[in-house]
């Protein structure tokens, strides 16, 4: 039963080897969906290209449903699957800083590596910025430590917080995503731009 590495069904080194192959799949899908182009990524914020929204939400829903079904069939123990902890303050402030970086730089970390892999110099410069930013945070950590650790809520699920089952929340998320996809398809026609 999964997850394989935490259940010690595969060794640490096998896990690392599989990580490499999973990464190849990750990079391949990102690049072939157009995520190696900052123009396509930034399009979501102006409506001319909404590929980010479509890929992102379809992926989150696919993985969420996959995990729920695999748990239902007894193929994976969800108690052993990592749920990101929630530190309310840093989740919001960190997200705001990342959002500003996104609209200025046109990439996020994963997509910048895809862009750099096919020769985008802007992506390589963005990556150089990432290293500076990560180092900068570590260097000045003392200033942010309080914010970093504030409002720790444990590892709550959204569904728990809203007092509904995982399945019901999943259904609502799918309906919300379909609504956004309809708006996205309309926006791409209304705000169409020439490619460059």
């Amino acid at each position: 039963m999964g997850p394989l590495a935490p259940n010690e069904i595969i060794s640490e080194n096998t896990n690392f080897l599989i990580a490499f192959f999973i990464g190849i799949g990750f990079g391949w899908v990102l690049e072939s969906s157009g995520f190696s182009s900052s123009r396509k990524l930034a399009g979501i914020f102006y409506g001319y290209d909404t590929v980010v929204l479509k890929v992102f939400f379809t992926a989150a829903i696919t993985a969420m449903l996959g995990l729920l079904f695999m748990s239902l069939f007894g193929w994976i123990d969800l108690d052993l699957v990592y749920v990101n902890p929630t530190f309310l303050s840093s989740a919001i402030v960190g997200g705001v800083v990342m959002g500003a970086g996104f609209i200025m730089g046109g990439f996020c970390p994963g997509t910048s590596f895809c862009g750099a892999a096919i020769g985008k110099i802007d992506a390589m410069v963005f990556i150089a910025g990432l290293f500076i930013g990560v180092y900068g945070f570590a260097f000045t950590y003392g200033w942010w430590e309080k914010l970093y650790l504030a409002k720790y809520l444990g590892e709550p699920k959204v569904s728990e917080k809203l007092g509904m089952s995982d399945g019901l929340f999943g259904l609502l998320l799918i309906m919300a995503a379909i609504g956004m996809f309809i708006v996205a398809e309309w926006a791409e026609k209304k705000f169409a731009r020439e490619e460059y």
Binding site: L4, G25, Y46, Y82, G129, Y196
Partner: protein, 178 residues
């Protein structure tokens, strides 16, 4: 569909909904194998931690954020799941670009701005994203996407903060993109 080059180029990209399902399956595989989702900024942190440790061991001890991280990774911080995964991302991205004929050394930017301006904003954006990813405990991949798949409250909040802020600021940076 104004010109042939436009249709020809866009046809080469995957249908976004198909791309999303495939990305979701990759994320599902990551969870099934390792018990954790995908990530990108974590690998950068590993490289930064290793670099500081190698170059200047003394300053490392004055950086509790990095020292703690290195301690939690037995052996070398480079021996981490995300480092191997990110090496794969570079290979996968390169292969996809090679098969689609998209390998080209260039600065991609709107014709309305110079390469120089694009690169300055790319650097600034990278710095902010790198900083924010450490404060927010993960980036779009590790915190937002992977967090959402396991229904993490923090994942949803970070996702909304990233996209909400970028939408809110889009007006001020519009010259760079449209």
């Amino acid at each position: 569909m104004n010109s042939n080059s436009t249709t020809g180029r866009s046809r080469k990209y995957l249908n976004p909904y198909l791309g999303g399902v495939l990305l979701g399956l990759v994320l599902l595989a990551a969870n099934y194998v390792s018990g954790r989702g995908l990530g990108a900024s974590g690998a950068i942190k590993s490289v930064v931690a290793t670099t500081i440790e190698t170059v200047d061991k003394d300053s490392f001890s004055t950086m509790p954020f990095m020292a703690e991280y290195a301690e939690s990774h037995s052996g070398s911080p480079m021996k981490s799941w995300l480092v191997f995964q990110m090496l794969g991302v570079i290979v996968g991205g390169f292969l996809s670009g090679a098969f689609a004929g998209r390998l080209k050394l260039k600065v991609e930017h709107s014709p309305k701005i110079t390469s120089r301006r694009r690169l300055i904003f790319a650097l600034a954006g990278g710095v902010l994203f790198g900083f924010g990813s450490q404060l927010g405990r993960g980036c779009t991949s590790g915190s937002a996407l992977s967090g959402m798949a396991v229904l993490s409250l923090g994942g949803f909040i970070t996702m909304m903060a990233i996209f909400g802020t970028a939408f809110a600021l889009a007006y001020f940076f519009r010259r760079n993109w449209i």
